[in-house]
């Protein structure tokens, strides 16, 4: 029994991270980020490729996306091309991914330390996240949630396809962060699972501090509440969106790197993992970070128990878990009018 709980908590911690990222992105940009799962697989498989001494295709993807973003930046600013704007575009859209690619190529020949591989994987996925917002969502940031959602699905399909091209159909595993392991009573703790707990807690606390106590965090929240109002007080909403995507990408990549030593990941595994994060996020109402974290632990535990007792119906149980929650939410649904579109 206890080991099931432990298993559930480890899974749940990952779902919590993803749920938090989804809440973050939705709150700031109104995008329901289906490609969140791709950030997980990209992070995990990029890390695994780097560890195996290959140059992952994601590094090249980042450069390609940077070029497109550069074109869009210049096109959007064509009426008032200022040298600072061009310099920023060159630095962010071209120099940054190029430097990352150069680092990756150099490192792939050297079999670097785990820490370098992790840092590079995070950088690559962060750049992809940033450019993804710039290319796919920034031009349609003002449209309805539905249009953003469909665009998000388009991104998911494209990124999943790229994932297959880059990493092949074979599953991969990465080296663990540490090999230590010890037992407490009947439970066996590995260094990896401890890392999962610690990093999850650290990230949750970090996000909470960031949104509660920093000016940037507050600016992001302001964008979430009212885009126009935020712009009027001088918050650059496009920057907020890019920042949110960047953070979501990093969180996704971290989750991926944390689980790839424990489970074999395939190019399309991310979708399901992301969806379970979704369930946690929905239970959290897409606004509450602590509730999302708790819900994720519940989802993870239910999954662990159902895969033990009724493994055939594991997914059915996990996904129908949401129905009672929806019932509760609909009973408590306030009669407030929401202005849509």
């Amino acid at each position: 029994m206890l080991f099931l709980v432990q298993d559930g908590i480890t899974n749940g911690a990952i779902y919590a991270l993803l749920g938090l990222a989804l809440v973050l992105v939705f709150a700031v940009t109104r995008v329901i980020l289906i490609p969140q799962g791709e950030f997980v697989t990209y992070g995990a498989l990029t890390y695994a490729s780097l560890s195996a001494g290959h140059v992952p295709g994601t590094a090249r993807l980042a450069v390609a996306m940077g070029l497109v973003a550069f074109g869009l930046d210049l096109f959007a600013g064509r009426r008032s091309l200022h040298w600072r704007l061009v310099a920023r575009a060159v630095a962010v859209d071209i120099m940054l991914p190029a430097a990352i690619l150069a680092g990756t190529v150099w490192l792939a020949g050297h079999h670097g330390a785990v820490a370098f591989n992790i840092a590079l994987s995070l950088l690559i996925v962060a750049a992809i996240g940033l450019f993804l917002y710039r290319i796919a969502f920034q031009p349609i940031a003002h449209t309805s949630v539905l249009v953003l959602l469909i665009a998000s699905v388009g991104c998911h399909l494209a990124m999943q396809g790229f994932g297959l091209v880059f990493f092949g159909a074979e599953g991969q595993r990465g080296p663990p962060l540490s090999d230590t392991a010890f037992s407490v009573g009947p439970l066996r703790f590995t260094g990896q699972s401890i890392a999962v707990y610690l990093i999850t807690v650290a990230l949750i606390v970090g996000l909470w501090l960031f949104f509660g106590y920093t000016l940037t965090g507050k600016a992001l929240r302001a964008t979430a509440v009212n885009r126009l109002g935020a712009r009027l007080v001088g918050i650059r909403t496009t920057l907020s969106g890019q920042l949110a995507f960047l953070m979501a990408a990093v969180i996704g990549a971290i989750s991926g790197i944390l689980i790839v030593p424990i489970t074999t990941l395939y190019y399309d595994t991310g979708f399901l993992i992301g969806l379970k994060g979704f369930i946690a996020a929905i239970i959290g109402g897409l606004v509450s970070y602590p509730l999302t974290a708790v819900a994720a632990l519940v989802v993870g535990t239910v999954e662990a128990f159902s895969s033990f007792y009724a493994s055939n119906f594991k997914e059915v149980i996990v996904f129908t878990l949401i129905l009672p929650v929806l019932v509760l939410r609909s009973l408590a649904a306030p009669a407030v009018e929401e202005e849509k579109d």
């Binding site: 329901i32 349609i140 665009a151 699905v153 790229f162 979704f278 119906f313 929806l326 649904a333």
Partner: protein, 591 residues
């Protein structure tokens, strides 16, 4: 009379009927058209559900699954005829929709799409794990559709079954949208308060479109099962559900034909990508999903509302509108005769939002044939009082009674039945519906045609009367010239007047107007004042909130003044203008 409107559809139907007889038509194209038709059916349901009703669903593929598996099991294991399983497939999809709909449609905004993803995936796994559905292998050797000795085995014959279903579904859907029930559905997307204020049972309307979309998906699933002659879980999974939503959005989520066009675009695009990309890129895998995803994002950036409206706006011809025959009359609403006496009695009404007391024990009356104005500085609780009377908000204390009957927290749909109609401070019209259609929502309770009679067009007598009443009220408020314009294209002042016409369609005994004169020019205000006087003289009472003191003092028989949620004065206009408390509230303390 209706011919010109139906002409393009008849041409389209003849064209589709002719296609299989074109000599040398490759069978492959017919298969493609079959697939387009199957997707179009599901997309049409989504148009109604998502584009018109504002309820996003990713789970439609699961309803296809219900339809397909129902017929697959019954025809293979029980040997039933496919024609017998058709109603059963539709019923199973519909019943599943009721069960899931009761849970989901009450959810607002983004919970709904996420919820539908979740149960969509849950059902997919259920299909692939259940023994009697054949697990992942599914069910094969399903008998083909047959009429007498004609067995619809090849794609060219079932083609007719599929496209007849598409055309019939399109006609029924368009009929439904162009009716009393359709207007209620079209009002859903803009929020429920306005629709409920005129008696629309919004949860029921939402459930209706949910079931309708599910039944269309079930029909598509039934056809699919007899087209492929085999079913397995894959086409009913999350990816498929997502793809149907794409089809609707790409085609134009608010338009019935957008669903068909979207299906054509997406199915053909996928086919082209699958057959040509491998040549271009030396057969590297999964490229079509990449290109497909990128094209989709690009398409949305170019035409966020979809391709159909984009195309239509480029066509030079505009659809003709039929003028309603204003000689038809609705029977007047039955009313308790009250030429004298208290109509509305508000006694110590109270509303608290947390620690804020928005309305603090306010009491006042409205007599029959009287215009009462509710005035006060911003935040005095005037609109909240309106919301308490009309049942939008539940009061924290006190009683409100109409003609001596206590209406204790009656929902808005009940309040309007008593003959109380209202307008809103922030205009709540459906901007992409014409003025006539918007006003006709006001007469919702005076019609009785339901969804099915609307689909079959046996509601026309009822409908003509509703539209006639709406046209009459529009003429009465002086907007006859704008009757066919979209409500969203009118000036804000005119939109307020449209709201008054909509309220008049209720045939009310009490009219609640929330800042009706805001945004009107001087002449328009005078016209409005004379209209209100005329209504009063005709036996109606009016309670209005207004900031324009000239307008109020000139018009009102009595004035109630609120400040910070409390009534500070009540009396005739002359008494109010000299009341020291009122002057203090408006101008501040005089030192």
């Amino acid at each position: 009379m209706a011919m010109p409107q139906r002409l393009p559809i008849i041409v389209f139907a003849l064209l589709m009927a002719a296609i299989p007889f074109i000599p040398g038509m490759p069978p492959f194209w017919i298969v493609l058209l079959d697939n387009i038709g199957l997707s179009a059916l599901v997309a049409m349901g989504l148009v109604l559900l998502t584009g018109v009703g504002g309820l996003t669903s990713f789970g439609q593929a699961a309803f296809c699954g219900f339809g397909a598996y129902t017929t697959a099991v019954l025809t293979t294991a029980w040997g039933m005829s496919p024609w017998l399983t058709l109603p059963l497939s539709l019923v199973v999809s519909g019943v599943a929709a009721v069960a899931l709909g009761l849970v989901t449609v009450r959810l607002s905004g983004h919970y709904l799409p996420l919820g539908t993803i979740a149960w969509g995936i849950g059902l997919f796994y259920l299909f692939s794990k259940l023994e009697f559905l054949g697990r992942n292998d599914g069910i094969s050797s399903i008998p083909p559709l047959a009429i007498g000795s004609l067995r619809m085995v090849d794609p060219g014959t079932i083609y007719f079954a599929i496209w007849i279903a598409v055309l019939v579904a399109a006609l029924l859907t368009m009929n439904l949208l162009d009716s009393r029930t359709g207007r209620a559905i079209r009002a859903l997307r803009r929020g429920h308060i306005a629709a409920e204020a005129f008696g629309v049972q919004t949860p029921r309307a939402k459930l209706l479109v949910f079931i309708y979309a599910a039944v269309l998906a079930g029909l598509s699933g039934w056809l699919y099962a007899h087209f492929e002659r085999a079913v397995n879980p894959t086409p009913f999974g999350a990816q498929a559900g997502i793809e149907y939503l794409f089809i609707a959005v790409v085609g134009g989520a608010g338009y019935v034909w957008g669903g068909v066009l979207g299906a054509a675009i997406v199915v053909i695009l996928k086919e082209i990508l699958q057959s040509y990309l491998p040549y271009l890129f030396h057969g590297e895998g999964q490229l079509e999903t990449i290109v497909f995803g990128i094209l989709l994002v690009g398409l949305l950036q170019l035409a966020p509302t979809g391709v159909w409206p984009w195309l239509m706006s480029r066509l030079p011809i505009k659809p003709r509108r039929n003028r309603p025959d204003t000689s038809l009359a609705l029977p007047a609403r039955p009313r308790t005769a009250a030429s004298r006496g208290v109509l509305l009695h508000v006694d110590k009404a109270r509303k608290q939002f947390g620690g804020v007391i928005a309305v603090n024990n306010v009491s006042f009356d409205v007599q029959a044939r009287e215009i009462v104005a509710l005035i006060g500085p911003n935040g005095a609780g005037k609109s909240t009082t309106f919301n308490l009377i009309t049942g939008v908000l539940t009061k924290s204390g006190g009683t409100i009674s109409v003609l001596g009957r206590n209406i204790d927290n009656a929902p808005p749909q009940q309040v309007v039945k008593l003959g109380i109609a209202r307008t809103f401070q922030h205009v709540k019209l459906v901007p992409d519906m014409s003025v006539l259609e918007n006003v006709a929502i006001g007469a919702h309770l005076r019609g009785r045609a339901g969804a099915i009679s609307s689909m079959l067009r046996i509601d026309r007598a009822d409908e003509a009367k509703l539209l006639a009443e709406a046209a009459r009220q529009i003429e009465r408020v002086g907007l006859a010239a704008q009757i066919d314009q979209l409500a969203g294209s009118l000036s804000l002042g005119q939109q307020r007047i449209v709201e008054i016409a909509r309220a008049l369609c209720v045939d009310p005994m009490l009219l609640l107007l929330d800042e009706p004169a805001a945004g009107l020019r001087h002449m328009e205000k005078q016209q409005l004042a004379s209209l209100l006087r005329q209504l009063r003289d005709g036996g109606m009472s009016v309670l209005l909130v207004e900031h324009d003191m000239g307008f109020v003092m000139d018009l009102a028989d009595r004035i109630v003044v609120l400040d910070f949620g409390t009534k500070i004065a009540e009396g005739t206009p002359d008494a109010i203008t000299t009341n020291p408390d009122v002057i203090k509230a408006y101008l501040g303390a005089v030192s």
